[in-house]
């Protein structure tokens, strides 16, 4: 990002750098022009706001049961109706945004950190390290991801944390391969050779040159990855392998309510629509970022 000011060591003078153009600024300009991507960004902002403000906005507690009010249709006192235990669905859907965004973001951050580390090791050091890591990626990718996540949770025991961990693990190869490919293509660039010629250490080359230049594809893939992670977490919750009651997780809410679908369809409609819209938002934004940051990645 173009830095506006730089200060000298004693902080007495500051030099203004003109904000003309830079790759990030250009990207933002392209991104802003893409209306659909902006819709995605606004939707994500909205969901983050809801998640942060859930305790303030929510009219009830997410786990307060009122058995007299069970399976009530949407009304002015319960905007989204109530579930089979008389809990307010609007409140639960609001709190659900917290869980989905949390799981989505943190699992992707986890996969990115581990994937980047392994990808750099494989790409930069090559030889047998590359062989081992690349084969590991191949093997992990040879399983349908949701199935591998199910297997991992089956071992660790069902819980939201374990679901998050499982989703993070199964998505490591996606980022690992991306970073490896990027490192391989950067390694032979002239400025890396130059850096090496002036005696820069490997670790410095990695941190200063290779890592920053690998960021673009990671950001794009990470945004799309959050969408996938949210769906995967909801799927695990739906199968009873993720969040446990009374946690208001959207997937778990769906599976708890599915038996009431005929009599109380709102219990199934609202959590489902929430999952879809959140995932849609990240997909829109990811597509927009891809067009803005790296037009060649379009596929």
């Amino acid at each position: 990002m173009a830095q506006a000011t730089t200060a000298t060591s004693n902080g007495s003078t500051s030099v203004s750098v003109e904000k003309v153009s830079g790759p990030w600024r250009d990207a933002w300009r392209t991104f802003r022009k893409n209306k659909i991507a902006m819709v995605g960004l606004v939707m994500i902002g909205f969901f983050i706001l809801i998640a942060l403000l859930a305790p303030v906005i929510a009219p009830y507690e997410y786990d307060t049961q009122a058995l007299r009010d069970r399976l009530k249709a949407p009304s002015s006192s319960h905007w989204f109706g109530t579930d089979d235990l008389g809990r307010d669905l609007f409140t639960r859907v609001l709190y659900g945004a917290r869980i989905s965004l949390w799981v989505g973001t943190f699992s992707v951050v986890g996969s990115i950190i581990l994937g980047t580390l392994l990808g750099i090791l494989a790409g930069f050091y090559g030889k047998w390290i590359d062989m081992v890591i690349s084969r590991l990626f191949d093997i992990l990718l040879a399983f349908p991801s949701i199935l591998l996540a199910i297997a991992i949770v089956a071992i660790l025991g069902p819980s939201l944390q374990n679901a998050l961990l499982a989703i993070a693990i199964v998505n490591i190869p996606t980022y690992g391969r991306l970073v490896r490919a990027k490192v391989l293509s950067l390694k032979n660039e002239e400025y890396i050779t130059a850096a090496r010629a002036i005696g820069m250490k490997n670790s410095a080359i990695l941190l200063r040159h290779i890592l920053p230049n690998s960021l673009t594809p990671i950001i794009v893939q990470g945004t799309l990855g959050i969408a996938t992670a949210i769906i995967e977490a909801a799927a695990l919750g739906f199968l009873g392998l993720g969040a446990q009651p009374p946690t208001p997780e959207w997937g778990k809410m769906l599976s708890d309510s599915r038996q009431f679908i005929a009599t109380a369809p709102w219990t199934v409609i609202f959590p489902g629509v929430s999952i879809m819209l959140t995932v849609l938002a990240f997909n829109l934004m990811g597509d927009g970022l891809r067009d803005a940051l790296d037009p060649r990645m379009k596929s």
């Binding site: 084969r135 590991l136 191949d138 093997i139 992990l140 040879a142 399983f143 349908p144 991801s145 949701i146 199935l147 591998l148 199910i150 297997a151 089956a154 071992i155 660790l156 969408a227 769906i231 909801a234 799927a235 739906f238 199968l239 009873g240 392998l241 997937g251 769906l254 599976s255 599915r258 679908i261 005929a262 369809p265 199934v268 409609i269 959590p271 489902g272 999952i275 879809m276 995932v279 849609l280 997909n283 829109l284 379009k298 596929s299």
Partner: protein
């Protein structure tokens, strides 16, 4: 081509071996004593010891792994703890059910996805294009388990058009020969059952096929748009060929390779999605088999089920790669 096929198959070997190691590790990664986890805390020391012996848990791990590999190569997948039936025998009808479902879902996804993509590219920026791409966008963001529930609610519970669960009318079943009920009812000449089997297939295959359909439509559209602007398409148009022939014959042939890749990748992904779809529609397939095994901690079944699906996944990817090379000879020389 022969050399290429051989090379591709050889590359598969280390991946398959790696997969068996991961799947083998599943039972060994269970924290604590697997025998106690499987049998429950109330089990006697004697029965736990018997199970440990049966599972070979008393041997060193490498011996266990080689024994496991030996069994696998003999086609022995072990025995279900819950039913005590050999898994190889038990899993066949489940596999057939999953095969029927995935083929139907993929047929739906390819037919609608490819055609929607072609017409969207052909009539770029028309209302048809916009609607198709909107549906595709929503389609890729749709949690399939929710789509399945909504389908059941609308088409079964509200409209009563289609059955919500199962594979056929169980009161008057067709004799199972292949376990593919479409074929079985044809063999038996049972037209009434053929119709009900079809009706049972519609909702689950639409639910399972929606994401691949959306992905295929988007890929077909972008690939077609690229080709439609090329010189040879202009030439074909200039020769005075009908639009339809230009689009479906000349352009499609050249736009199809990336679409084929996506179809392959999506078929593989479908196997994972099948777990969710089968759970919702009570479809007796491998996904449901694994899911039930998880709830009853039937670890040999979990192991084998996952291994079989992963194996199919790798084989499908291999077939796609080979098809890919057959369609585009340049790939073989890379």
């Amino acid at each position: 081509m022969k050399a290429y096929v051989l090379k591709r198959i050889l590359i598969m070997v280390p991946v398959l071996i790696g997969m068996t190691i991961i799947v083998f590790s599943i039972i060994h990664a269970i924290p604590g004593d697997p025998a106690e986890t499987i049998l429950g805390q109330k089990a006697t020391e004697q029965s736990k010891e018997a199970l440990r012996e049966q599972l070979g848990l008393n041997n060193p791990w490498y011996q266990q792994y080689f024994a496991y590999m030996g069994d696998l190569l003999k086609g022995d997948l072990g025995q279900s703890i819950r039913t005590r039936v050999p898994i190889t025998q038990e899993i066949t009808p489940y596999l057939a059910a999953t095969a029927e479902l995935t083929v139907a879902a993929m047929a739906f996804a390819i037919f609608f996805g490819v055609n929607a993509g072609i017409i969207s590219a052909w009539k770029q920026n028309s209302w048809f294009d916009y609607i198709c791409m909107l549906i595709a966008l929503i389609g890729v963001s749709m949690p399939i388990f929710w789509l399945g529930l909504m389908e059941q609610w609308i088409f079964s519970l509200k409209l009563h058009w289609l059955p919500s669960i199962g594979r056929m009318n169980q009161r008057d079943p067709v004799e199972a020969v292949t376990n593919l009920y479409l074929i079985d009812s044809l063999i038996a000449g049972r037209w009434d059952q053929l119709w009900t089997v079809c009706k049972h297939l519609i909702l689950p295959s639409v639910a399972l096929g929606t994401i691949p359909m959306a992905v295929i439509a988007r890929m077909t559209r972008s690939s077609m748009l690229e080709v439609m602007n090329s010189d040879f398409v202009r030439t074909a148009k200039a020769k005075g060929l009908s639009q339809f022939i230009v689009v479906y014959k000349h352009a499609l042939k050249n736009a199809f390779i990336p679409v084929l890749t996506v179809i392959g990748l999506q078929t593989g992904a479908l196997l994972g999605g099948a777990v969710l779809t089968e759970t919702i529609f009570a479809w007796p397939g491998v996904g449901r088999y694994i899911y039930e095994a998880i709830s009853s901690r039937d670890y040999p079944v979990i192991q084998s089920g996952i291994l079989i699906i992963a194996f199919l996944f790798v084989v499908i990817n291999l077939i796609v790669d080979l098809l890919y090379a057959a369609v585009d000879p340049r790939i073989r020389y890379r």
